[in-house]
């Protein structure tokens, strides 16, 4: 009866409002059958087939497309240009010197990407070719998945994955539901219930399904997994019947059918239009601060490179002004060269100098940095301490680009539920009309069915008892919990009666499970939902059946949910449960005061509270409700908004029943972790949707707030009394007064004399603060004042936050003038926005699905793992990569600067100092492995000390190892070494002042050394100096370090011996023949190599030692202490004393 009315309504509404958005919707003809004539025009739309293409390349376009993509990167493009210049003009070095490394880099990348794409092709093929069953002409036919078309009726069996997005027509179950797990989509392993279209659910054989004659109109595909609106028109007896379709009817590709024998469904989105495919898009790439500094350094070096080339070009032409210098009789130009225009000549010279010096920007740095990041990230995954036995999960790295950013975090934004807390809800108590009930728990963990309860208050009267039972029933009915049978039990038929222990509750919200389980302990057991009837086992072991009429689902804006049920006696109830703030305003009677008092008491204890209310509906009221709901549900546009409006109208005039309290325990070591983060100089903000009192209690428990923390409140309660303006100014004055008197050292908030501040702000106030400034200018700068207050608070708690507001906060801090590095950590879908927004997003593998993990950069099983991740791994990664970057620039300055100096002695003729092989291999093999290894396994301080003493983290804060002064120091060191090497060799070879350079091996063989010996001498000193410099910086010498450092030096010597030992037939020059051997057989060469290496390393050693002695950093003090400790075990006590003292 009710149905007919609603159908009529929808028809009317469809003709009134439905047509306006034809463009955005699609029409699907089920089974490709034309609609009956006269109803609507048959327009066959074209849809893509069901082929999934995740691969980027095909066999044919791989090379051009991949090359194009690689050369879009600035660095690769730069090296390509250099290479081309070398090919085109007459340059000092052969194109091989830059071509080979470039080719190497490009090939390795191409092979990697090709391999990845091949895997994608394979995966695509296996998906595209896997068989699906389609109903054609009343028969089930096998088809390849890729041939599936929109409108096909698909037959899916249990445990099969849906091949495309489908509308559920019918299932093997009578009630027309099926269960689905979306584990591969969003990681939620719980079974979700989907509903078949009411009018087709009876058609559950292939013949019957084939006879369905209907069209579906729905929106064009959009990526939101949880939104879908559509409408099905069923032509029965040529009378079209329209039904709403929602996301509860839509089966998504990638999800798996569970607990249901088979289903029939119709394909509506196929191939790349499925929601899963639309969701597959790479996240925006985040860049780390180190990468930014690296790019800045690159610009500096590019500038140096260009100015070097420019200076040399100018000098060359000044020097050449004398024709006898330009073209002495012994060194004529060719005729074609002579005729070239001077401008062209100068330009070619400039380019040639660029080519000669281009090694200062090393190709291999990018490769090394990428390898370091990629390989280094394995240490996070391998970490045994970050493995959680309980979950069986280890840390996951989704982006290795941000490893070093973990060592730079200044702000940590954490979610509360599931992140700080276990999200393991336990029902603590409930309060009905002011009477408190605490379920009796038997110690061994077993729950006694129908066990009694402790009533704290005096026993209630009969009227109260009625209320009490209504309350329990309300909690048993008002939820979306499913009952899951043990997998081994075959299907639903076994049911719940056989053994209660085999069934358990599943829900997307752990609170609900806790509540239903709590009710079970109080004597009311929710059994199952069958044929739209919810079954409850009451205290007398009788089954009560309620017909479930409507579910007004939960959403985070309303913060409540309701059900409408019809009891066996025919009474219509609306049960509503939700946050106190959303229930109390809607309550018209009940013992509000008592309940409110209890709720507040519980909230202060850190418990999560929910209020329960009900409303009796008369049949007329129910009709109205139905009408409102179906009207809203059928809307194609603004459905959500209209539903919200409908809910708002329905959920009113409630009678308060009582409240519940659920405890969410703190995660293991959460307090310790937060304390460590504080000590490490990070500011921890808790962003939660929970209410203020609960959140504040959690904050106290997790040591975010201390007993002596002065709490500043910026909440709606205060802004009601004062204007926001005044509150803000008040707070900033309080904070700043204190701040003025305190020195930087006391900032850590651990010293007694200074109070540290904690700020609590709620969502509503925050949006007021964030609101763009109005016309009157004095209200404008709230943001600035707010930031100023926040900066001076050691901890901030933001409660009542909507997911988007979390991201807003992160954005606000990110954009503040210090540009701090932010980290967001959370476990639920509501944290995704902030995880994506923050510099580093960390997901917790919690209970609320895998969305956070999927969108995060790193995922860890538990909050406590954050400590090791930041304090140990982050710290290591940062020092490793900063050394890597600085060292790379340093070694290339050492490499190229002598070549620059040499130009002054060879008439600016672009004569290279080193042989081609040396130019090519310097960065690729002679000096690449030691630094790569260093950047993988260096540990300047032991892990345990890093963990024990979080204040060490402050030593590397604010990108301290990549600041300009340090960069300049390294560059100057490089220039110094280059000067020592070049002029050392110069004076040995020079004979203008001191005369004589007859370098003699023995008295009977004697020979002259030429320019290649000169270059080889410089190069030998260079390789050794640069490698020893790294050895001096290494604080952690494992056998691998020894192997690689000494190994690469030996490799250099062996290579040089080989390279000069043979007349290489494929070379057109033999300039290196025996040069290295001759050099080594000369005594003075040995002596000068030793001298120059010593002189080159001296200043750096000196600087290190003096700085360590006079201005030691905390890190260095700890290192020194540790040494003392090793020799003197009795100073252990002292160490702990000092280390804690140092942290101030």
């Amino acid at each position: 009866m009710g149905m007919d009315v609603s159908t009529l309504r929808t028809l009317i509404s469809r003709y009134c409002v439905g047509e306006e958005n034809w463009v955005d919707s699609r029409t699907i003809y089920i089974g490709h059958k034309e609609p009956p004539p006269g109803t609507e025009a048959f327009i066959q739309q074209r849809f893509p087939d069901n082929r999934i293409v995740s691969s980027k390349y095909t066999f044919w376009n791989f090379i051009p497309k991949n090359m194009f993509e690689q050369f879009r990167r600035v660095a690769n493009f730069y090296f390509l240009i250099i290479f081309l210049v070398q090919l085109i003009i007459d340059t000092p070095t052969s194109p091989i010197t830059s071509g080979l490394p470039l080719f190497f880099v490009i090939t390795v990348t191409a092979i990697k990407q090709g391999y990845e794409d091949w895997l994608r092709h394979k995966a695509d093929n296996s998906v595209n070719q896997c068989p699906v069953h389609v109903v054609q002409h009343g028969k089930v036919v096998r088809k390849q998945s890729r041939k599936l078309r929109v409108g096909d009726v698909v037959f899916v069996k249990e445990n099969e994955t849906f091949p495309c997005d489908l509308i559920l027509l019918s299932t093997s179950r009578d009630e027309g539901v099926c269960y689905v797990t979306t584990a591969s989509l969003d990681g939620e392993s719980s079974h979700k219930t989907y509903f078949a279209v009411q009018d087709t659910k009876a058609y559950n054989t292939e013949q019957e399904v084939d006879s369905i004659h209907a069209t579906i109109e729905c929106e064009q595909p959009q990526p939101d997994l949880y939104k879908f609106v559509g409408r099905i028109n069923i032509y029965m007896d040529n009378e079209p019947v329209a039904r709403p379709l929602g996301s509860e009817n839509l089966l998504l590709r990638g999800a798996t059918l569970k607990n249901t024998e088979y289903i029939y469904a119709v394909a509506i989105y196929t191939g790349m239009e499925t929601k899963m495919a639309l969701n597959y898009q790479s996240k925006t790439q985040k860049r780390s601060a180190v990468e930014k500094s690296m790019n800045a350094y690159l610009v500096v070096y590019l500038f140096i490179l260009i100015s070097k080339a420019f200076v040399n070009t100018v000098l060359k032409y000044v020097w050449q002004a004398d024709p006898n210098r330009d073209e002495p009789w012994y060194n004529d130009r060719t005729e074609s060269e002579r005729q070239r225009h001077i401008v062209i000549r100068a330009f070619t010279d400039f380019l040639a100098f660029m080519v000669l010096f281009n090694y200062i920007i090393p190709v291999s740095m990018y490769v090394t940095v990428e390898m370091q990041k990629f390989l280094g990230s394995y240490f996070i995954m391998w970490d045994d301490e970050m493995f959680d036995e309980e979950l069986g999960e280890r840390a996951v790295v989704n982006t290795s680009d941000l490893n070093e950013e973990l060592g730079q975090v200044e702000y940590v934004f954490t979610d509360k539920t599931g992140t700080l807390t276990e999200n393991n809800m336990e029902f603590i108590e409930c309060c009905v009309d002011g009477h408190v009930y605490v379920p009796h728990v038997i110690l061994n963990g077993q729950v006694m069915p129908g066990a009694g309860m402790d009533m704290i208050d005096t026993s209630p009267g009969p009227e109260a008892r009625e209320h009490e039972e209504l309350f329990f029933r309300a909690l048993c009915l008002c939820h979306t919990v499913q009952v899951k049978e043990e997998e081994t039990v075959d299907g639903i038929k076994q049911g719940i009666h056989q053994g209660k222990s085999t069934s358990f509750y599943i829900s997307s919200s752990p609170d609900e499970v806790a509540l239903v389980e709590g009710m079970k302990r109080l004597g009311f057991t929710y059994l199952r939902l069958k044929d739209s009837h919810m079954e409850i086992l009451n205290r007398e072991d009788e089954i009560e059946r309620f017909e479930l009429l409507e579910v007004l689902t939960f959403d985070s804006v309303r913060r409540r949910m309701s059900v409408i049920v019809r009891s066996s006696s025919g009474q219509l109830y609306l049960f509503c449960k939700g946050a106190d703030s959303s229930i109390f305003p809607r309550v018209i009677s009940g013992k509000v005061e008592q309940v409110k008092a209890r709720v507040e008491h519980n909230a202060v204890e850190g418990l999560r509270t929910l209020c329960v209310a009900y409303r009796l509906l008369s049949p007329e009221q129910y009709q109205e409700v139905c009408h409102l709901l179906s009207g809203a549900k059928l809307a194609l546009q603004d459905r959500d908004k209209r539903l919200a409006e409908a809910y708002d109208i329905i959920e009113k005039d409630l009678i308060l029943l009582g409240a519940t309290a659920v405890e969410d325990r703190l995660q293991e070591k959460a307090a310790d972790t937060i304390e460590s983060l504080h000590k490490a100089g990070m500011k921890v903000w808790v962003l939660t949707g929970d209410k203020m009192e609960t959140a504040a209690a959690t904050c106290y428990a997790s040591k975010l707030f201390h007993r002596n923390t002065q709490i500043l409140e910026l909440t709606t309660k205060r802004t009601e009394e004062q204007s926001l303006h005044d509150v803000l100014f008040d707070l900033s004055r309080t904070v700043l007064r204190q701040h003025g008197g305190m020195t930087r050292d006391t900032f850590s908030g651990l010293s007694g004399d200074c109070t540290d501040y904690g700020l609590i702000i709620d969502g509503a106030t925050l949006s007021a603060v964030m609101r763009p400034p109005q016309e009157d200018s004095n209200s404008g700068n709230y943001k600035e004042i707010f930031l100023e207050i926040c900066r001076n608070c050691s901890a901030v708690l933001c409660c009542r936050m909507a997911p988007l507001q979390k991201a807003q906060i992160v954005k606000l801090i990110k954009a503040s003038k210090e540009h701090p590095i932010t980290l967001a950590i959370g476990d639920g879908a509501n944290d995704v926005s902030m995880i994506l927004e923050a510099h580093v997003g960390v997901g917790i593998m919690g209970k609320e699905g895998r969305q956070a993990v999927r969108n995060s950069d790193y995922a860890i099983p538990k909050f406590k793992h954050l400590k090791k991740m930041l304090l140990v791994h982050g710290h290591y990664y940062y020092i490793r990569i900063s050394e890597l970057v600085q060292y790379f620039f340093y070694k290339n300055v050492c490499f190229i600067f002598p070549q620059f100096l040499y130009q002054f002695f060879c008439g600016f003729s672009q004569q290279p100092l080193y042989d081609t092989a040396y130019l090519t291999l310097y960065n690729i093999s002679f000096t690449s492995l030691p630094i790569l290894l260093y950047s993988l396994i260096e540990q300047h301080i032991n892990m345990d000390i890093l963990k024990k003493d979080p204040s060490l983290y402050r030593d590397i804060a604010k990108n301290s190892l990549l600041r300009w002064p340090i960069f300049i120091y390294w560059t100057i060191l490089g220039v110094y070494d280059a000067i020592v090497m070049f002029f050392g060799a110069y004076f040995l070879f020079d004979n203008t002042t001191f005369t004589s350079n007859g370098q003699l091996m023995t008295t009977n063989t004697q020979m002259m050394f030429g320019n290649w010996t000169f270059g080889t001498l410089v190069f030998t000193v260079l390789v050794f100096t640069v490698t020893f410099k790294l050895a001096l910086d290494t604080h952690y010498w494992t056998w691998i370090n020894h192997f690689v450092i000494w190994g690469s030096l030996i490799f250099f010597v062996v290579f040089s011996l080989l390279w000069g030992g043979i007349i290489w037939p494929f070379l057109n020059y033999q300039r290196m023949y025996y040069v290295f051997m001759q050099m080594l057989s000369s005594g003075p060469a040995w002596l000068s190599i030793i001298l120059l290496i010593t002189a080159g390393l001296l200043p750096d050693v000196l600087k290190k030692v003096i700085w360590r002695a006079l201005w030691p950093t905390t890190t260095e003090r700890i290192q020194t202490k540790r040494r003392c400790l090793a020799s003197e075990p009795s100073t252990i006590f002292m160490l702990s004393q000092t280390s804690s003292r140092i942290s101030f």
């Binding site: 990681g187 004589s996 000169f1014 023949y1073």
Partner: protein, 370 residues
Amino acid sequence: MMASSYNAKEEDGHHSGASSHGAAGAVKSKKPDNTAFKQQRLPAWQPILTAGTVLPAFFVIGLIFIPIGIGLFVSSNNIKEFQIDYTGVDISSPCYSCAKNFSWNSTTPCVCYVPFTLNQSFESNVFMYYGLSNFYQNHRRYVKSRDDSQLNGDRSALTNPSKECEPYRTSDGLPIAPCGAIANSLFNDTLELYHIDSNGTSNPIPLAKKGIAWWTDKHVKFRNPGGNNNLSVAFHGTNKPVNWRNPVYELDPSDPENNGFINEDFIVWMRTAALPTFRKLYRIIQKKPNTTPTLPSGKYLLTITYNYPVLSFDGRKRMILSTISWMGGKNPFLGIAYITVGSICFFLGVVLLIIHHKYDTRNNSADIPN
């Protein structure tokens, strides 16, 4: 499985094709291996550079370097060296007219005589060098202007020299052997030395012209085409370098082992110098078996056949006589540098000692109250 696990990592479980893969992944234990490498707990030596540890090293370096430096300096000072500039810039110099009247086309060689006196006698073997200044043998255009294959006796390279030799690749349509700017500008002054004894007669001093090039150069890197016999036939069809008076097979007609590409003067010249001022070994004066010094102090005469013009590019030519020691020729730089670095190290050692002392006491006193 490979593809799906790959997908799970790289693309967050994008399209799981196999329906079984979720279950398979769950079964596999994800517990990381507890190896020292993976847990970053490899045993390691953890040195730290502190004043205390570096101090001894500084002193040791100082103590080793200073004696080495002194030794080097002394032995360099013991080396006797004499050099004379015979360019002929000055109107008073004997070679002035030769330098001034130089012409590429003159057929009669210009000879000049430079008398000089050695105040000290030169013991043991004496090495005779010619030195050139302001001559850019390291100019890029010059350095690459050679064909190593041709010099290695390659027949095809002989008749078709490398492009790098331009513009000294061909002359009169014939390939030049040896081609290139380096060979073309071969130093061709002839130096002879006479000892003038007390009664005024001049005795020629025997100058050995072999053994002045690298052994490997002479025997491996440089080879005549078709062996050493009948060079004029082997070089048939090639032209001599433009500036040369004689073809390459007439560089030393007296000795077939020193002719053609394997002529040692030629090989020495072909090893391009590192700097614009350089010297190259010219001859060796072997020590005589008897006790008299190789070059006793007294008057000498240097006879120069002046063929090599350097004034056009403001160059200088020198003749150098030098003895050698265990560390080579005269070069006080190395000794001085060693002494300097050694003393700096020693000095820094002292400074560090002071710092170390102060730092240590300060640190200790800071610790004790705790």
